[in-house]
């Protein structure tokens, strides 16, 4: 169910230089949101910036009825978002879009490859797939960023008691290098079927996809496009997806059929 809500901000914390987490109280969303879904956030009632922006669901607390998003302050919208005060309302629409489909195979190892602010939806997914005290579930996370302070959710991932590896370009945390280095190692050492889920900068995701496609490993990708409406009506967010038509592709809405697509069906531009 998609809602349009004015929800109170219950927390707004700075995680790093330009990284912030906003937590709002929205029981319906906390209950119904799935890993990979997003919310359309309104800047403010003056409609300037005019359009909403999509932000992925990060941490949900169904008991408290809250959920959070993480944003990197990098443009007019997100820089302005920093002024939102606890107690003020945030206008949101969602949860929207499809979500990651965990591989049903019980023997499958679920590998999440996150880059920068691509981590939130994968944290949500990892949390759902992790099995706390049990040890029979196989979840691996590779979380990369340029430097330690741009890594989202170090504490949170660590708490999940799953195998998490970090990579940073400058080596300030975990492996020095990029996520694909870690991914290759992981795939080489993996026994049994592997299923990859990725979200991050497009360049990173393309590299991850290249590896998976080359090795015939199933991979789900959360694409980032502009989302003028986020509702599936404006057709301003479409991506080329292979089909049987004469052209060999059709334009699907990354806000509606997506944002999560199968790696092998995406035609990158």
């Amino acid at each position: 169910m998609r809602y349009q809500l004015e929800v109170p901000i219950v927390a707004h914390e700075q995680l790093a230089d330009y990284e912030y987490e906003i937590t709002v109280h929205a029981p319906q969303v906390a209950r119904e949101a799935m890993p990979g879904q997003f919310l359309q956030v309104l800047y403010d009632q003056t409609y300037n910036p005019f359009t909403r922006r999509p932000f992925s669901v990060y941490r949900v607390d169904p008991e408290k009825g809250t959920f959070s998003i993480v944003y990197l302050a990098r443009g007019v919208f997100t820089l302005g978002l920093r002024n939102k005060q606890v107690g003020q309302n945030l206008s949101i629409v969602g949860p929207l879009g499809n979500w990651f489909q965990p591989d049903p195979n019980p023997d499958a190892t679920h590998v999440m490859v996150a880059g920068g602010v691509g981590a939130p939806p994968l944290y949500f997914l990892a949390q759902r797939l992790s099995c706390g005290d049990r040890t029979d579930c196989r979840v691996g996370v590779i979380n990369g960023a340029r430097s330690k302070e741009l890594l989202v959710g170090i504490e949170e991932f660590d708490e999940l008691r799953i195998d998490v590896q970090y990579t940073t370009d400058d080596g300030s945390h975990g492996l020095r290098g990029i996520v694909t280095d870690a991914l290759l190692k992981l795939l080489d050492s993996a026994d049994g079927p592997v299923h990859v889920y990725t979200c991050g900068p497009t360049a990173m995701m393309r590299a991850v996809v290249a590896i998976c496609v080359h090795r015939g490993i199933p991979c789900q990708v959360s694409l980032e496009t502009l989302m003028p409406c986020g509702l599936g009506v404006c057709m301003g967010c479409v991506v080329k997806i292979k089909d049987e038509s004469a052209t060999g592709y059709q334009y699907l809405r990354s806000c509606y059929e997506g944002p999560v697509f199968r790696a092998d069906e995406i035609i990158w531009e």
Binding site: F50, T51, M235
Partner: protein, 307 residues
């Protein structure tokens, strides 16, 4: 305050609607996506995304640019084509107690004719809105709507091919819209839709390229409201057929401005993206206004701005 609830129903020539608020073509899809926000029966009418004879892939990305108080779009009429529309979209739309207005687009006269004939008699369609005003570059085709003779021709030929009310959707990209409007009326249009988008563009100064793959697009949103309102007012003086006003309508007060200027009904467009409940809030706002003004019907205030 009027004691009795004002009557919100409106009559636009042959078209009767439960209230004067519609959702503009291309900003509401085929309705499905909205069902979770509110009962589609709350709308006076749904104007569906443009339908063409054959399916259209639409333009390459990027298709949209954000501008001050608006957006530029060049979607390129992506749609499943008239057959798929009838087979897959109409059954869903028929379920609701609201008028379905089908927006038809083409770049050749024949295609307009084909669409008119094919849709005539399809159950559940309340009217055809003829999109003769899609900005050139956006539709690839000729913009019929910029030439009075062509405008009249297209409408005439559609008129002879359908029993449905014909709505001519006019382009604002003209020197004098009070010349185009009568042409459409003479062609047999029952109703006019004013307005479609203004042609505009935006440039990425780092890449030194256009921000839209298609280079140019149509400007819409609150930024164009003063221009749309002016055109509605001018056309209301120039023709006797009813007008559906659109162009930046975002709030009840915007909608009421259009009614006072002479529109018999209005449509919400781009604002639907930002405030999915804009249309229903406007229905409520109009009712409140009528009551406050002691008006018992919408028609009572249409065109009553003092000159």
């Amino acid at each position: 305050m009027a004691v009795t609830k004002p009557d919100l129903s409106v009559t636009l020539g042959p078209l009767k609607l439960k209230n004067p608020v519609m959702t503009a073509s291309g900003t509401f899809g085929f309705g499905q996506e909205w069902a979770e926000f509110f009962d589609l029966g709350a709308l006076g009418a749904i104007m569906v995304k443009a339908v063409t004879v054959k399916p259209r892939l639409g333009n390459p990305m990027p298709r949209m640019v954000e501008t001050p108080a608006g957006t530029l779009n060049s979607i390129g009429l992506q749609n499943p084509g008239v057959e798929a529309f009838i087979a897959e979209k109409m059954p869903y739309l028929r379920q609701f107690d609201t008028a379905v207005i089908v927006n038809i687009a083409a770049d050749r006269m024949d295609d307009y004719n084909t669409l008119a004939e094919r849709l005539d008699g399809v159950p559940g369609i309340a009217a055809l809105e003829v999109n003769i005003s899609c900005p050139n570059q956006e539709c690839g085709g000729l913009e019929f709507g910029r030439d009075p003779a062509l405008t009249r021709q297209v409408i005439e030929s559609i008129r002879t091919r359908t029993k449905l009310p014909v709505i001519a959707k006019l382009s604002p990209n003209v020197t004098d819209i009070t010349v185009l409007a009568p042409a459409a009326a003479d062609g047999g249009a029952d109703i006019l839709s004013l307005i479609n988008t203004f042609v505009g563009t935006a440039i990425d100064i780092k890449k030194r390229t256009f921000k839209l793959a298609n280079r140019t697009g149509g400007l819409s949103g609150p930024c164009i409201k003063p221009l749309a309102l002016y055109m509605v007012w001018r056309v209301a003086q120039a023709v006797d057929i009813p007008i559906i006003g659109m162009g930046g309508v975002s709030t009840p007060s915007d909608a009421i401005e259009f009614l006072l200027a002479g529109a018999s009904a209005i449509a919400t467009g781009t604002i639907n993206f930002v405030n999915p409940h804009a249309a229903t809030e406007i229905v409520a706002g109009i009712e409140e206004y009528l009551a406050a003004q002691g008006a018992s019907s919408v028609a009572e205030i249409v065109g009553t701005v003092s000159r």
